[in-house]
Structures are given as structure tokens and as C-alpha cells.
Amino acid sequence: MSVIDNLSAAWPLVANLESFLALFIGITVGVVAGAIPGMSATMAVALTLPFTFALQPITGILLLLGVYKGGIFGGSIPAILIKTPGTPASSATVLDGYPMAEKGQAGKALTMALYASCTADVMSNLALILFAGWLASFALSFGPPEFFTLILFSLTIIAGVSGKNLVLGLLSAALGLLLATVGLDLVYGTNRFNMNDPNLMGGLNFIAVLIGLFAIPEILAYIWNPQERKGSVRSLGGQHLSFKEYKRCFKSIVRGGFIGVILGSIPGIGAAPAAFLSYSEARRNSKNKENFGKGELEGVAASEAGNNGVCGATLIPLLALGVPGDVITAIIIGAFMIHGLQPGPMMFIANGDIIYALFLGLIISSILLMGVGSVAIRLFRYIADIPRPVLLPTVFVLCVYGVYAVNNNVFDIGVMFAMGALGYFMLRTGIPAAPFLIAFILGPLLEDNFRQAMLMSGGSGTILFRSPITWVFWALTAITIATLVRKGMQRK
């Protein structure tokens, strides 16, 4: 089927009230969650996931994508108004956004953040539509050895989410790989760490692990130190963004969008580096470079374009190869699986209509983001005022209901609390949680493809080097590791 055929088959799936409502609610939830300091886009996507069970797959996934996009933009609101990035991706926005707010230009900065986000978002979506299908058709020729090497390379994305200490990130990933082995053996069906408990035979529940790692530790951290946020919310000010100002920043927005698309399509880099690179490039090329850091509108535009340019592009490896580009897309891959869909090249053949419906939904979401974002900017004062002693018990109850709803099983709630305790230990000791989750998702795929390859070759490892594709992925993995080691040596 051609792209046009696919798009016409997909249109009825999106052109209905449920899908529009899902996108609208998703974006609203995302913007609100991103705007609340202490919440994050990741936590919002994780908590929304259980609410998608009752929905059609396309509606549920559109809801999650709405939360993702809304969350990334929402993070810029507290970054500008209270100098507290709602998400790590908004850290670069603080540099010029908050100085603008101090000058009474918060409204202008926020409007620019919104326009830059939406423009870069459209660019990112177009890149997804153009490249995902092409990459998927190429990946159709992959067998287990190729997928094994691809997933091994993808595990190097852990380097991107490990923080300053790669070893702690790798340890976190090793724990994730270990917990992914709980259940029944993939080939022989024998017990592995399941203590003969029927609740563990299918492995640990993904949602329980996810929510346990990302939401419960935040609650425990607040219980450890229940203090309200300090600092005041800046007013929006009377100045509004003019078309002339948007036009002046357009070049930086487009450049930032491209940077976001390129970095987003590479697994593991994420939105924060894209925002900082976009910001530094804008500064380097700007006529007003001396104003950067003191409240330059172009700085806000560039950083927001950089982080939102990533959103659609991270879905390229997810949809085309079945490999998550970052933590949030790792959660979304779980949502696909829960709805009986397996992202990857075969999905373009078996569920092409759903893929293209997602593309259409993403384009619509850029328009909705503009509307929801404009309202959220004005309502931020009320969002920021939600007291944490009310918010965090609310999150706790949402976690409990959400995790229970997956399998109608109280045991899963226990798993979530156990993972929460582990997550809090990791938080206290500086071990990042993101590598754990990525390894937990990729672990079974890695092992499955490895063992399939071994079955094909009768146990000979040479099959893992059988084609130029495997060589390319081995080379990329080696280059990534060598770069990381070199970087480490230079820092030393």
C-alpha cells in the first residue's frame, strides 16, 4: 500500500470524537502534570497508562502521546515563571525564560515557548511520517541475529540516561535485565526466580515495575522531607508576542527543530541535550548573542524548539524498529504491548492503518497543543498552587488503582511497592532509574533474539556476525562504547 492508501485507511480511525477527546485530554493532563513542579512527563504517562485499558488501542495510544507532548511543553511554564523546570528537557528554557519573566515579559516568553514548541512539533511529526516507513521496510529483512545486535546497540542508550556515572547506570540496567528474567524460561518453560508462585510465572507486571520505579519514590521522597516549594510565581506581564518577533526567531526555531529531529531519532539522547544544543547553536549564530542568558527571546525559542523537535522523532525507532528512543517511549512501547500490538517493521504490514492513524493524530495534537497551551499559560498560578500534601496522596491512590486494574490482582500492588522501595533506594544512592526500565523492556527481546539465533545455528556464535547489518550494529556498539570510555578518560 502507498502512503496515500494508508493515510486514507487511517483517517476514519482518527476522525472521530473519541480520538479527538483522547488527544485533548492527554495534552491537558500532560501540560498540567508538566507544569506542576515535582511531577514529570514520565510520571504522567505512567499514571495515564492504566486508564487506556478500557479504550481502543488507537484511542489509548493517542491519549498517551497527548500526555507526552503536553508534558514536554508544560515543563517550560514553571521553568519561565518560577525558575524550576517542570521536566529536564526544559532546563535550557530557564536560561532566558526566567530573566524575561523578571523583566515582566513572562507572557511573551511563554507564548514564544508555545509557538516554537508547536512549530518544531510539526517538523518532528513530518520527519516521523517520512522516515519511519522507510526504516521499517529496511528492517523487514532483519532476522534474530540482526535484531540481537540492534537491541544490543540500543542498550547503549543507557549511556544517555545514566547521568554523570555510567557505572551506576550500567548497574541499574543489569538489575533491570535480571528482573526481566523472572518468570518462565522462554525456550524450556522451566521456572526462573518465580518461587513456583503463579503470580510470578508470567514475569513481573510491567506497569507495576514502571509505576513503582517512577511514582512511588517521589512520594517517599516527599514523606522523607514534607516541605512546600519555595519561591514565587512571576506575573505574565502586559507584553505580548508580535508576528515580527516570531519571524525574527523563526530561523532558530527551524534549526532547533532539525536538531531535535536528528537527536530524537537516535535512541537514548533525549530532549534535554537537544534543547541545550539548539540553544548554543542559536547563540552562536545570533546577532544578539550578548543578550543570551539575560532574557533573549531567541534563546527561549531555540531551547523549546530543540526539546519539542524530539517528540515525534523518538517515535521513529519505536515504530520502525520496536526500540524505544527514551524512557517515555519505553513506557509507550509497553502500552502497545498491553493492547496486543508489537511495534516494529511487521506492524507496518499487519497494522499499517493504526500506524498512519497515529501519524495523523500526532499532527492534530500539534494544533490542539496550541489551544491547550494558551489556556494553561493563563491558569498556571492555580496549577502551581496545588498543595503537595494533597497532590502526592492523590498520586498514591492513582498508582494503587492503576496497577490493580492491569490484572485485577492485589499481588501487583505489592510488586509496585517493592519496586517503589527499590526505586527510593536508587534515588537515595544516585542510581538512575531510567536504565533499569529500558533494560527491563529490552531484556526479554535481547534474550529471545539471542536464543533464537543460537537455536538457528545450533549454538554457534558466528551467526551473530552473519550479515553486513550485524557488522554495522557491532561496529556502532563498539564505537559508542569506545566514545564513552574516551569521554570518561578525558574527564578523569
Binding site: T190, I223, P226, P389, P393, L398, Y401, P432, R451
Partner: protein
């Protein structure tokens, strides 16, 4: 921020954990059929590799104490804002007890009532400055979620042995 002095014991913890995986957990909790021809296909192969990786990384973590500057060898451990209030461990222990209680009490009281009680208990634990708002949300939220999950999503929310909801 976690200093190198804390990195080193953490490395030791992971070495110990890896050894536990290899020496205790795999032999006792992973069943491998006797007719496995190739070791790479055995159910124990993957967990063994991971066990060794954990030991290796634990050793590297310990070695980092001597070779790597403190600011690089640690990640920021963000466990809360500012100077912590006293009684943190006590509150954490109470939260842990609350979580364990939730798992055991839910089949008896039902999820809705247990969630309400947990909300109130958590609000007391963090000394909510807005008790009335907390109480309203504590009642309304579990009920709203019950309506959504039970009636809209078709989830069999546990009702408990005492008060059953429609």
C-alpha cells in the same frame, strides 16, 4: 550528592548481590533441564551472565574510589528539597507499614475504603496544611476511580467483606 566514600560500600553491596545471584539464587531458583545440549541455550545462561556483570560493575565501582574524582563518580541523589525535616526515617517506616497494610487489608475492606484510609493516613503523615481539602479528596477520589474502573472499564474492583458499593 553521593560521595566516593559511599560509592565504595555500594560497590561491595553489588559484589555481594552478584555473588548471591550466582551461588544461591540461580542454583535454587532456576530450573535447568538435564538434556540441555548447549550451555548458551540453558535457562541459567542469561542470569549467570548478568550475575557476573553485576560483580564486575561492583568491582569497578569500588575501584573508582581510588581513580576517579568525587564529582564524576557520583550522580546527584535528589531525595528531597532543602534541609530535611526531623523524623524522616520514622515517617518512611510508617509509610512502609501503610503499604504492607494496604496489600493485606484490601481483600478485607475493599479497595475503595482502603484507599480512602490510606489517603487520610498519608495526609496525617505529611501533616497536611489543608485537612478539609485532603478529606474531601480522600473520599471523592477513590469513589471517582471506582466509578471509572468498575463501571466504565469493567475492572472487578475488590469490594471487601463489609460495605459493598453499587
Amino acid at each position: 550528592m553521593m560521595q566516593n566514600s559511599r560509592i565504595s560500600p555500594l560497590g561491595l553491596v553489588f559484589i555481594g548481590f552478584g555473588a548471591f545471584i550466582l551461588l544461591v539464587a540461580i542454583p535454587y531458583a532456576v530450573t535447568s533441564p538435564s538434556n540441555v545440549q548447549k550451555i548458551v541455550l540453558a535457562p541459567t545462561f542469561w542470569p549467570t551472565i548478568i550475575g557476573w556483570i553485576i560483580i564486575g560493575l561492583g568491582a569497578i565501582l569500588m575501584a573508582m574510589r581510588f581513580f576517579v574524582p568525587a564529582d564524576w563518580s557520583s550522580n546527584d541523589a535528589d531525595a528531597g528539597d532543602g534541609t530535611p525535616l526531623p523524623g524522616g526515617w520514622l515517617r518512611l517506616a510508617a509509610a512502609g507499614a501503610l503499604m504492607v497494610a494496604l496489600v493485606y487489608v484490601t481483600p478485607i475492606l475493599g479497595l475503595v475504603w482502603t484507599a480512602m484510609l490510606c489517603f487520610v493516613a498519608l495526609s496525617l503523615l505529611v501533616k497536611s496544611s489543608r485537612p478539609v481539602v485532603s478529606l474531601i479528596v480522600a473520599i471523592a477520589l477513590p469513589l471517582a476511580l471506582y466509578v471509572f474502573f468498575h463501571h466504565a472499564a469493567g475492572v472487578a474492583v475488590p469490594q471487601g467483606e463489609f460495605i459493598r458499593l453499587p
